[in-house]
């Protein structure tokens, strides 16, 4: 039995870093000190994570819980501050602290000279803390602390340039849309707590939930509702249909933030959550189907929008939404470890892509700044030919693009192909799911190479005055690019499937988490279909190459082609370019309707009706008093007269 009691240090370091920079950063001022504190904090976490991770690798027992203290205690509700380390959370902490450290390092260069330098690093550390709580929590509520904590940091970092209205709007949108998901998470948790409680098990602890889940009828209404509610939470955090709309707007944040939060880590939280509760989800085949369908639909839908965007970060944003769709597709067909595998490889290549785009934006921004121009440094139409000016950025970006496009040998190929294979062959899969994923893969290759060609190839379209001021970024920026580029290249080799002569160490490592569920519910790739494995692989390589070829044709060979195509399919282009008008639809359906309802409640009910009655009662009393005053004339004979009349009436009534 190994000792894992130091696990609390992993989230602790970034928390301390965040507090120090948050409280004292303004006084410290020195960027080097601030940056060192923040980067050091997450690097220390990484060191501890490595320690524990390798300890876990060599340990025969793979699931460890460490309880720190009681958190909430009221009768049946007993919740602890506790951590859970198993292969799943082990992989996650490595990704979060590893990629996190690189992005912290990168930020030192990228954010240089920013007024809110300390604020930025304080938020970034706080994010890492929250994300680590999310993945390490041993119960659903500690996870929820991280879950909402990353939402908060996302809010703070998207709104980092809070003077820009669009940044403030995007931040608020991200938080509110996530709250819709959180509503689902909470209802799911309540239902689960109550349903298990009916069987005498009052718990929110993951291991206990897994242990007692069999008390609930498999495939029954309860597990289906619970998992659907949790999945609603996942669609919020991981930007899936119908709650994906916040992610593209989130690109208002600084680019390293997009890399860390909106690509590599936070947005994968939903995938992780399903992985964490795999036993429960497997019990609800209906939910699994919904997950798979939503994942596949999001993958192709977001990819379609990515085809026509001109903002370099927006393309990557839609690409992220689309790739997350793949991960959900994997989870939905029961390919849990494939989903987590893609989560990891995606973290490498997408972080590299975002940081690469940041490097480009950084260079463009400085060039424009130098030339006193106000052109958009993120618009790819102003780029082109940058590969010679920024060779390291280009090379790492290109490698990552090959990875995401699914070129054999690179990390993305293995993970994506495994997902597609499972989508086709799993007992919970189907050829339609495969087909959608297959088509999306072609689109991915196309829009990514469109991006590469527009940015790095061809003629430089930058304004003449700024053209020569575009330079390669400094070493703190290129170093993380190189490391991530390498990971994008080789990161997939730990999961080479057996069909290709590999040993799939990754799946093997995660087996303690998923194998039991898969065996219990008979989730596996069907043997009868194994003959298709190589043809399908070939097909997906083929479609990627076609996508690349088309991009080359349209953006290198014949740059006039896109215009002709747009002219030919005008309506389609307008719809895609405007993101299928989903934002407008939501605004009309939800945002404005809610505002109108609020205004109606206030001006149409609160003031006229309730206060009307209250004030009316007041007027009535006053009017009544006024009437009484009329009788109080102060003249004796008047009173006497009234008394006489009254007496007569009383007597009359008495007699009659």
């Amino acid at each position: 039995m190994q000792d894992y009691s130091l696990i609390w240090l992993i989230p602790f370091f970034p928390l301390v870093g965040s507090v120090i920079n948050g409280l004292l950063g303004k006084k410290i001022k020195n960027e080097k000190v601030i940056g060192t504190i923040a980067t050091g904090a997450i690097a220390l976490s990484f060191v501890v994570s490595c320690m524990l991770f390798f300890r876990l690798l060599g340990d025969s027992q793979k699931v460890h819980e460490v309880i720190i203290a009681s958190w909430m205690s009221a009768g049946k509700l007993q919740i602890d501050w506790g951590f859970l380390l198993d292969p799943l959370s082990g992989v996650m902490i490595m990704v979060v602290t590893g990629v996190g450290s690189l992005i912290h390092l990168y930020s030192n260069g990228y954010m240089h000279g920013e007024e809110g330098f300390y604020r930025y690093f304080s938020y970034l550390n706080l994010f890492c803390f929250s994300m680590l709580m999310l993945v390490l929590g041993n119960n659903a509520l500690v996870m929820f602390v991280g879950w909402e904590g990353v939402g908060l940091c996302s809010y703070l970092l998207i709104g980092y340039y809070f003077e820009k209205k669009s940044a403030g709007d995007a931040a608020k949108k991200a938080f509110v849309v996530n709250r819709v998901g959180d509503f689902g998470f909470l209802i799911g948790l309540f239902t689960l707590f109550w349903a298990l409680g009916e069987h005498g098990i009052w718990t929110v602890q993951f291991t206990k939930i897994a242990e007692h889940a069999h008390l609930l009828p498999a495939g029954g209404a309860v597990v289906t509702i619970v998992t659907l509610c949790f999945f609603l939470g996942a669609t919020g955090k991981s930007a899936q249909i119908p709650l994906y709309t916040w992610l593209p707007d989130a690109m208002e944040g600084p680019t390293p933030v997009s890399a860390l939060i909106h690509a590599a880590t936070m947005v994968t939280a939903g995938v992780y959550m399903i992985g964490r509760m795999n036993g429960l989800f497997a019990m609800a085949p209906d939910t699994m189907m919904v997950v798979a369908i939503v994942g596949a639909a999001t993958a192709i839908f977001a990819a379609s929008i990515g085809l026509a965007q001109n903002d370099i970060k927006r393309v990557l944003a839609y690409s992220t939404v689309s790739q997350l769709g793949y991960m959900f597709l994997a989870m939905g067909v029961g390919a849990f470890s494939a989903g987590i595998f893609h989560l990891m490889t995606h973290a490498f290549f997408k972080a590299c892509l975002f940081l690469g785009s940041g490097s480009v934006i950084h260079a463009m921004h400085h060039a424009y700044h130098h030339a006193h121009l106000h052109d958009d440094p993120q618009d790819m139409r102003n780029m082109g030919g940058l590969r010679k000016k920024m060779p390291i950025t280009f090379l790492t970006f290109f490698v990552s693009t090959l990875a995401i496009a699914g070129i054999p040998g690179l990390s993305g190929f293995f993970s994506k192909d495994e997902i597609l294979w499972w989508a086709f062959s799993s007992t919970r899969g189907g050829w339609i799911l495969w087909l959608i994923g297959f088509a999306a893969a072609g689109m991915t290759a196309f829009y990514m190479f469109r991006l590469v060609f527009m940015t790095f190839f061809g003629e430089q379209r930058t304004d003449e005055r700024a053209k020569d001021h575009v330079h390669e970024s400094p070493f703190v920026i290129t170093l993380p690019l190189i490391v991530l580029g390498l990971l994008a290249l080789v990161g997939g080799w730990i999961g080479i499937p057996k069909a290709l002569g590999g040993a799939n160490h990754f799946e093997h490592f995660l087996a303690p988490v998923f194998e039991h569920t898969q065996e219990m519910f008979g989730i596996h790739s069907q043997h009868s279909l194994h003959a298709y494995e190589f043809p399908l692989m070939g097909a997906s390589i083929g479609v990627a190459l076609v996508g690349i070829f088309l991009a080359w044709l349209m953006y290198v060979k014949n740059p006039e082609a896109p215009k002709a195509l747009v002219a030919r399919f005008r309506w389609l282009y307008v719809a895609i370019f405007n993101k299928w008008f989903v934002d407008e639809l939501y605004d009309g359906l939800f945002v404005n309707a809610t505002k109108r309802l609020g205004r109606y409640c206030w001006k149409g009910f609160d003031l006229p009706i309730i206060d009307g009655i209250v004030n009316g009662a007041g007027w009535l009393v006053q009017g009544f008093s006024r009437a009484l005053r009329f009788w109080q004339t102060g003249q004796i004979h008047g009173y006497a007269m009234t008394m006489v009349i009254g007496a007569v009436i009383i007597v009359a009534v008495y007699i009659v």
């Binding site: 948050g22 909430m72 205690s73 049946k76 509700l77 940044a167 709250r179 707590f193 206060d611």
Partner: protein
């Protein structure tokens, strides 16, 4: 000393009021300073209660004091009968805790007739503490009514533009409710006498709890109590005095109103209306829970479209107090503990929000959201504190608001109120909408309004008075057990009391249907 601790704590502010009244009115600084000292000392007096381990183990009344007070012949007897349990403990401490902060907030805000203001604040403290510790229904009623008077003057004299209208509205709304309650109190008293409760026990609620009031009486009595308390909470649809009262009250008044006076209503349900009339409660539960949930959503929707920050916070109170009520009506430990905790949380967070609104009002003499924008750049410290409080109000995990809301909802969900909870949970979304939208419009964006370019960040006094509140935002968020462990025994006792009597009543109803065997 400890046997008179509660009396000392309750009447010490009254002593302070007398001292304040003796000081010539032009010594503004001295008056404020003295009031601060008195409230601080009073906080220290009450502090030992927080550390008394007895509340962890015993749910009964402690620190009891008893004295005969008013006797009229042998048909009317009221006693000075006080004591606290784990339920009132934290409300008492919240009161003594909030008061010094409130006084500190008046430093620059109150300039007109400081003497009167301070005297009223101290009188109000005595009245509030008295109401929380009363175990005699009539004594409670006296303190309950006594609270009205200082608050009425605080709004009516030191208030904003429509202060007279708001003060009268506040007064009449509350007074109408309490008159009904008075009738019900007297009815219960005579019923108790008839049922054999000894005459010298007066209006002792511990004895009233034992009564078996017939269901048909219970309903009307409960309605009288419930109506009176519902106005105070305030529950939808008798909430409309609150936005007006808040908007026109001076900052100190708003803070006390939100932090403590509203809790008087929720506390009234827990201490009086529910345990005294459990059958009627059972009967009315669906309606009350419905109103609580409507309050949550309605309050949030109306808060969303407000143009005045203070009015927005006031409507948010309607929403938050709806959560508290829902938790209380869950009638299980999680829900009720959540409700009790949320009372404290609301006191801290909304109290802090009103202080925050006060800060910018003192600087700009307006509270219209449209007048602001981009303040964050000008006032970074203020922005940080405002943001923390905002997220506490939204109920972000790690802050106090989350614990309360979560426990309320998980408790209500496993009670009969399951479906109500689902709707209540949408309040979680709306809270984020109205708070963040407001925050964005006030703090973010470009600093366009020239009047805001001169704004000064918070001074030391203002930061100091916010820090204790922030401390508890995180304390309750991270380790609520400090508070829960002391309220749990009292709540368990209360719940078994209510449920026990409901079962007795159920059995009684069944009995007549059985054929009598003689």
């Amino acid at each position: 000393m400890s046997e008179h601790l509660l009396s000392l704590m309750t009447f010490f502010p009254l002593l302070g009021m007398i001292v304040v009244l003796l000081i010539p009115r032009e010594n503004d600084g001295l008056l404020k300073g003295l009031t601060l000292v008195f409230t601080l000392i009073n906080f220290c007096i009450s502090l030992p209660l927080a550390f008394d381990p007895v509340f962890k183990t015993s749910g009964g009344m402690h620190y009891g004091e008893f004295a005969q007070w008013i006797s009229i012949g042998d048909y009317f007897q009221m006693n000075y009968n006080v004591g606290i349990d784990g339920i009132s403990l934290w409300l008492v401490l919240l009161t003594t805790f909030i008061m010094p902060i409130t006084v500190l907030s008046t430093w620059q805000a109150v300039e007109k007739n400081v003497k009167g203001f301070m005297a009223l604040l101290l009188l109000l403290e005595t009245a509030m503490l008295g109401a929380f510790i009363s175990l005699d229904l009539f004594l409670f009623y006296v303190f309950w009514e006594l609270m009205l008077i200082p608050m009425y003057f605080l709004i009516g004299i030191w208030g904003g533009a429509k202060r007279i209208y708001s003060a009268i509205k506040f007064f009449i709304y509350t007074a109408v409710g309490s008159l009904l309650m008075l009738v019900a109190i007297i009815f219960v008293y005579y019923f108790a006498l008839k049922s054999g409760v000894p005459f010298d026990k007066g209006f002792s609620i511990t004895h009233f709890y034992q009564l078996n009031i017939p269901a048909e009486y219970q309903l009307w009595l409960f309605l009288a109590f419930a109506f009176s308390f519902a106005i105070k909470v305030p529950m939808f649809p008798v909430h409309t005095w609150l936005p007006d009262a808040h908007t026109d009250a001076p900052t100190a008044g708003s803070v006390i109103l939100a932090a403590i006076l509203l809790k008087m209503g929720t506390y009234g349900y827990v201490r009086f209306a529910m345990p005294l009339f459990p059958d009627a409660l059972q009967q009315c539960l669906p309606v009350l829970a419905f109103l609580a949930v409507v309050g949550i959503i309605y309050g949030a929707l109306v808060a969303m479209v407000q143009e005045d920050v203070k009015r927005l916070v006031a409507y948010s109170s309607v929403s938050h107090l709806g959560f508290v009520m829902l938790g209380i009506f869950a009638l299980n430990l999680q829900g009720m503990a959540g409700g009790m905790l949320q009372m404290i949380n609301h006191g801290i967070s909304t109290g802090a929000l009103f202080l925050i609104v006060g800060f910018i009002y003192e600087r700009r003499h307006t509270r219209l959201i449209a007048e602001f924008g981009g303040i964050a750049k000008q006032m970074p410290v203020f922005a940080t504190i405002f943001m923390i409080v905002t997220f506490s109000s939204i109920g972000l995990p790690g802050t106090n608001g989350f614990i309360g809301e979560f426990m309320i909802m998980i408790g209500a969900f496993e009670s009969e109120l399951r479906w109500f909870t689902v709707f209540a949970a949408t309040g979680v979304i709306f809270a984020a909408v109205y708070m963040l939208w407001m925050f964005q419009r006030v703090m973010f964006g470009e600093l366009k309004n020239p009047a805001n370019k001169e704004l000064k960040d918070l001074n030391l006094r203002e930061v100091v008075l916010m820090l204790p509140l922030l401390l508890f935002v995180f304390w309750i968020g991270v380790y609520p057990n400090t508070f829960l462990e002391k309220m749990n025994p009292a709540l368990e006792q209360l719940i078994s009391q209510i449920k026990g009597k409901q079962q007795v009543a159920a059995v009684e109803v069944v009995q007549p249907a059985q054929p009598e065997v003689d």
